[in-house]
Symmetry: C2
Subunit: 349 residues, 2 copies
């Protein structure tokens, strides 16, 4: 079938791999018709695990790649000597045209370094970025960069805005996404030069989506914009702070239900509604960070997720392929002629 | 009495000034014996408002300074022409020795600019910083800088660590505070050069408190350390993201209690416990950001707070004076000879 999608899976990456990968593939297969998988990992083990997943066998091909990438391996080392790892071979399957996208729950730095080396950047993109989405007061918001680039110049931030817009449109299905640059105030005079220059460029460019200017930290959970653009340092800190705060408040709420007899009774009545709330803000529903700006679809799953979460990450890769996210990004970048935007400062990573 | 403390109050700053200032002073006066206030604002109005607060009259002196600083005034402009404002005059009272500290709920940028100009920096301090504290899983944590310095070099971060330690000890009463540098990973190789160099210096210096290395965004709400040190850009974003996320989850919880008949019944039983939770995480209990590194005690209250919150900010100023926070900071800075730590890069603000 012409609309068949093939996803390469690194079956050796993640705290509970290969179980979550194989079981996750079986969940994803039911959710997404016309999807097949190429599994990279220990052939014998994978065959046994696939056999245990009802109905999965005919949707997967297994390729033997028993070598995994250690969770604490240095990216610089892995790119030199990791060609036989399951991670590298899964990425390589995309490059070779055997798969349309790749998903891994392994070492983030290694995955990014390998993906950049093997898949290369999309023409016109200077710096790929890590993007993800999470629940907010108004729905869902995309944020990038989440850690690929520690320091960014104005050109990088403009690229991230374009990439984030495509991601919001492709994965969240938002028609005309609003975009904000993360800053310490909304006034035009706030922030460093890269932010001010990026804002100026974004106002002048004929962007897809709608650039609304600067946003602040509390605008992220409020869902003030569909796409929050920032450097990888700030994005990483903001994302982890938000996750940690959500965990803190949830712990406070659990504790509150336990701290008196009457509160415990109250919980019995309210339990069903709180179960729904837990389901709505379940981190497994927001799993899957996309490496945007590469010439290929590469999605990073959280390492500690389970099969349900891994299936969500597979879904992100499938949607990027199905709705042509990268093709759309390429067209936009060509039209805007980003090469003409010369960065005034050299950014380091 | 020798241990009497006098606090200057900018009665014209804040969304609901002068009401919150006068009523806040009356709450603080009951909480802290031996405290007196000098109120700067419209004399007639203040006299009428003070008269309405039972028992406050004998604890306050009113000085006429009817001119306020606009919430959107530019700091650069205010420092040139704002000498007659209530904010300037309140700061000046500290400089003149008429007060031991000053509290304002007005324009943050203006307050910081004026305080730096009038009070000057403590000897040996290169960059003052804004510090505040908030609830975490393990108690309370101090974070700085929250926005005074957009970019920081290693010397600034070392200073912030020393200042944060003093603040945690003085205001939270923590014996030997642990200190962490905010980064995107805990490994020594993570982050930019300023962070790596600051970590190196902090390991080598004979600091008060205990430097534990790098911490990440989720360590802030987890309370992994007593003092989180970061540049003003990242600190501002992290604080606002945490506040916004707490608001989001609380909204989800409120909604959950409303979304079914049984949940509403549950709320009736659990209400008392949730009221206690609300009280525990009440932002008014954590109001009062200290400008550390100045030769004088200057506390910024949230502009939107009420009298109870303003009284908390007054309490921060009182504790800094009472427990000799600045004297302790001065001694530490002299002992460590920070001047010998030459910054390798020039930071801008």
């Amino acid at each position: 079938m012409s609309d068949q999608i093939t996803i390469a899976l690194d079956a050796m990456g993640g705290d509970d791999a290969p179980h979550i990968v194989v079981a996750g593939a079986n969940i994803a297969r039911r959710r997404h018709p016309n999807v097949r998988f190429v599994l990279f990992g220990d052939e014998t083990e994978l065959a046994a695990r696939v056999a245990k997943q009802r109905g999965l066998r005919e949707f997967v091909e297994i390729r033997d790649a028993p070598e995994g990438v250690a969770a604490d391996a240095k990216p610089s080392q892995v790119v030199r000597s990791g060609q036989e790892t399951s991670m590298w071979r899964a990425i390589d399957a995309v490059k070779a045209g055997d798969a349309d996208g790749v998903v891994s729950a392994g070492n983030t730095g290694a995955l990014l370094a390998m993906a950049m080396l093997v898949l290369k950047r999309l023409p016109g993109i200077d710096r790929p970025a890590i993007a993800s989405f999470f629940p907010t007061q108004r729905g869902e918001t995309v944020m990038l960069d989440l850690g690929a680039n520690i320091r960014c110049n104005e050109r990088n931030l403009v690229e991230f805005s374009i990439m984030g817009e495509v991601f919001a449109r492709t994965i969240l299905g938002i028609g005309n996404p609003t975009i904000g640059l993360l800053n310490v105030g909304e006034e035009e005079t706030k922030g460093n030069d890269a932010l001010k220059d990026a804002a100026q460029m974004l106002r002048e460019l004929d962007l897809p989506g709608e650039f609304v200017g600067f946003v602040e930290g509390d605008d992220i959970p409020a869902g003030a914009v569909d796409v929050v653009v920032t450097d990888g340092f700030t994005g990483n800190v903001a994302l982890k702070t938000a996750e940690g705060t959500a965990k803190l408040i949830n712990a406070f709420v659990r504790e509150t239900f336990r701290n008196s007899f009457w509160a415990k009774i109250g919980y019995i009545f309210a339990k069903r509604s709180f179960d729904k709330l837990r389901n709505r803000s379940d981190p497994r529903r927001y799993n899957g960070a996309m490496f945007l700006g590469l010439d290929g679809v590469c999605v990073k799953s959280h390492g500690g997720t389970d099969a349900v979460g891994f299936a969500t990450a597979i879904g992100v890769a499938i949607d990027m392929v199905k709705y042509g996210g990268n093709a759309s990004l390429k067209t936009t970048v060509e039209r805007l002629d980003l090469e003409s935007l010369r960065p005034q400062a050299v950014a380091d990573s």
